[in-house]
């Protein structure tokens, strides 16, 4: 395909479009991690005592893990040692924004979100989406709060939730991902700075999509946000999450935790389009995306559905999971993970079946291009109590070019003989014949690749809210530029 090489090369040199830096005064703590830093973070946020205690317990646990060198090394990814004392754990725009007014927000930050295509002024937003904007370590704005409040829906930054709804936070924080869960989750619990909080009361169907837009701006900073979503009995909520970061030569750590709680008959739909800076073609820079996401179907007939489109980050380590505790509860995981250039992804899910007649569906699409390495890792566990449990897993890989890799590690653990398990897997390559066919019909090479990849991902994109699906398709096209030549 020699004649298309040049166009493709030009496209490959297009920069990551979200890579700019916003110039703004930061209020940051010194580098390093110790009790003092945790106390400072908690104090800056004016947290109640129970939060500080929880953070300190987490810190001590993390320190014990670090002494034991318990940073997880089992994933199919390689990276140099991370110096946890060389990271800034709290950075906020200096001018503290008033939480209920955009007028007091630094216009630079407002412009940043405009540039990212996320205008924060409500009149410019699509009416159906409320946004919480998290800039470095703090939430800077949340839209449509008033309208949501009328229905009793709480949608605010985590910091605000700690102040205004301490009982809810206390009840559910760590109930799905305890601070002892794993190395990165412990780290997050000690130093997390903000994130979103959602509570949907009994019987309420949240009238709009809720979304959080995460932006890392400051250098040498880690982003450690924490999101907690609680859907009370019979409630429904759909939540979207997007993320970008500037281009920097050093790697930046992002260790987030997301906890979802679905009570009886509640439904939570959680969608992510992850587009952290992936590093350059040689693998310099980029975000280490080490994230723990888990949902718990506490009640009967509850449903939690994860949809993720992972195109960014130098390294992705993430397994959005479902604990299916309530009888008849349902867990779903739909994933598209794309690795180009030197990106690495080790991602998948865990479905833990505890209740009777629990069902889970896993559909993953891994796309590897350039020298990208893409691993699916999934666990389906049927506990003894889970009579009549069912799982369907479909796991497909698509290879573009000669130097990339696709790997699959499914773990299946069945302890109840009534379980029904299905597993399908495939690996394919974009063929020269497919490209030629589409080009013969008038499509340019990159349009042809994009069409084939979008077709491959269709069953996942179908699960995304409309607005996000369009964004995801475009993103995939951009992320693939330069992958064929």
């Amino acid at each position: 395909m020699s004649t298309s090489v040049e166009t493709i090369r030009d496209l490959a040199q297009q920069e990551y479009k979200w890579g700019f830096v916003t110039k703004i005064d930061e209020d940051r703590v010194p580098k390093g991690l110790n009790e003092d830093i945790v106390r400072v973070i908690s104090a800056r946020k004016g947290e109640p005592e129970f939060m500080l205690e929880w953070r300190l317990k987490a810190l001590r646990h993390w320190q014990s893990l670090e002494r034991k060198e318990a940073e997880p090394k089992w994933a199919n990814i390689t990276y140099g040692p991370i110096d946890y004392q060389d990271i800034v754990y709290y950075s906020a725009p200096k001018q503290k924004p008033a939480l209920d007014s955009l007028e007091s927000l630094d216009p630079e930050i407002l412009r940043t979100y405009e540039k990212l295509g996320i205008p924060l002024e409500e009149q410019k937003r699509l009416a159906g989406v409320a946004v919480d904007a998290v800039f470095d370590s703090v939430s800077v704005a949340t839209t449509f709060k008033g309208k949501l409040a009328e229905m009793g829906v709480i949608f605010c930054s985590f910091s605000e939730a700690v102040q205004k709804h301490p009982d809810l936070v206390r009840k559910y924080l760590g109930s799905v991902v305890p601070y002892t869960d794993n190395f990165f989750a412990s780290l997050n619990a000690a130093v997390f700075t903000d994130g979103s909080f959602v509570y949907v009361p009994k019987g309420v169907r949240c009238p709009m999509e809720l979304s959080t837009y995460f932006r890392i701006n400051a250098a040498e900073t880690g982003q450690f946000e924490r999101t907690l979503i609680v859907a009370d009995e019979g409630a429904y909520v759909s939540y979207l999450e997007g993320c970008t970061a500037p281009i920097r030569d050093e790697n930046q750590l992002h260790a987030a935790v997301v906890e979802l709680v679905a009570l009886d008959n509640a439904q939570i739909k959680y969608s992510t389009v992850q587009n952290w800076y992936p590093g350059d073609k040689e693998g310099r820079g980029g975000i280490y995306n080490f994230v723990t996401k888990r949902g718990k179907c506490v009640g009967v007939n509850a449903k939690i559905s994860w949809t993720q489109v992972e195109t960014g980050s130098a390294i992705t380590w993430k397994y959005p999971s479902c604990i299916l505790q309530g009888d008849n509860s349902v867990g779903e995981f739909y994933s598209v993970a794309l690795t180009n250039n030197r990106q690495q992804a080790d991602t998948g899910t865990k479905m833990i079946h505890i209740g009777k007649n629990t069902r889970s569906t896993i559909v993953t699409k891994g796309i590897s291009a350039g020298r990208g390495q893409n691993t699916y890792r999934g666990q389906v566990k049927i506990m003894k109590s889970a009579t009549g449990a069912r799982n369907y897993t479909q796991c497909d890989s698509l290879l573009i070019g000669e130097h990339c890799g696709a790997h699959t590690f499914p773990y299946i653990d069945v302890r109840n003989s009534t379980a029904r398990m299905e597993h399908e897997a495939s690996t394919s390559r974009i063929g020269e014949n497919q490209l030629f066919y589409l080009r013969q019909r008038g499509l340019k090479t990159e349009e042809a690749v994009s069409m084939i990849v979008n077709g491959f991902c269709k069953t996942v994109f179908r699960e995304l809210p409309m607005e996000f699906a369009v964004e995801a398709q475009k993103l995939l096209g951009v992320s693939l530029e330069g992958s064929v030549g």
Binding site: S4, G431, N433, R439, G442, L443, K444, C457, K458
Partner: protein, 253 residues
């Protein structure tokens, strides 16, 4: 001016020369058929004309509508109105037929500086052409060629041709794998498309197709060269005497 002028075309695949000096001229409004035994280079000719990059042109030139065809990329040739009905149509999972066709049409329209078609403009034409090819409406939303039978795939190629309305259509063994009913439907589709502005290059191994699509000229390709040209009666003669007869003539005197 001729629509297609092939002069002394040589082409090779993986270092093996397959076309060894093809000369051929097509005018708009004409239907030419290329016949020949297996391995004579018929499909190679089709692929080279459609600009497949795995086929290397080593000598010769091709003018298409007055332009240098060999300097074009596949998508440029397509946008200039050259269409290849594939011998082995390719499956594109997850992409609906209608969406695919509309994207292709719009790529071509954009190249020509025309406005893009929206779904409302597209659908009525699409439905009408489906009817022409006696294809089910349900096909609209099925993925391109996925799970299609051999005959459905071939009909789908002709459907695409009918939608894209090319100036030059090359049919590469469209008859292979078709039963007699499907053959009749496909031929009907092609015949409905015949016009003064359009030329066809129909590549086939068997004379059977030419009972339904009657060509103006028949050429016999043997070992990478056209060894005989004539009217439709040449196809009948071939059917009777076999390719051995022309192969003998291919030997230098």
């Amino acid at each position: 001016m001729a629509l297609l002028e092939i002069e002394d075309l040589h082409a090779s695949v993986d270092g093996h020369e397959i076309l060894k000096g093809v000369n051929l001229t097509l005018n708009a409004g004409e239907v030419h058929s290329i016949m020949g035994p297996n391995g004579s280079g018929k499909s190679t000719l089709a692929q080279v004309l459609a600009r497949r990059e795995t086929y290397a042109v080593t000598q010769g030139r091709v003018l298409y509508d007055g332009k240098d065809l060999l300097g074009m990329k596949p998508e440029e040739a397509a946008c200039e109105g050259l269409f290849l009905a594939f011998q082995y149509p390719v499956e594109i999972p997850g992409i609906g037929n209608a969406y695919f066709l509309r994207t292709a049409m719009n790529a071509i329209r954009k190249y020509r500086g025309e406005d893009e078609l929206d779904a409302m403009d597209f659908l009525p034409v699409f439905r009408e052409r489906l009817k022409l090819l006696e294809m089910d409406d349900a096909l609209m939303n099925r993925s391109v060629n996925e799970g299609f039978s051999g005959g459905e795939k071939k009909r789908n190629e002709i459907l695409q041709m009918a939608m894209l309305e090319p100036k030059l259509a090359i049919l590469d063994e469209t008859d292979s794998g078709l039963d007699i009913d499907a053959l009749r439907i496909v031929a009907h589709g092609v015949n409905a498309m015949r016009s003064r502005e359009r030329a066809f290059l129909v590549i086939t191994h068997y004379q059977r197709l030419l009972d339904f699509i009657v060509p103006d000229f028949v050429h016999v390709l043997v070992e990478g060269k056209i060894v005989r040209s004539g009217g439709p009666e040449l196809a009948l003669e071939l059917e009777e005497k076999g390719y051995g007869w022309t192969e003998a003539q291919a030997q230098p005197a």
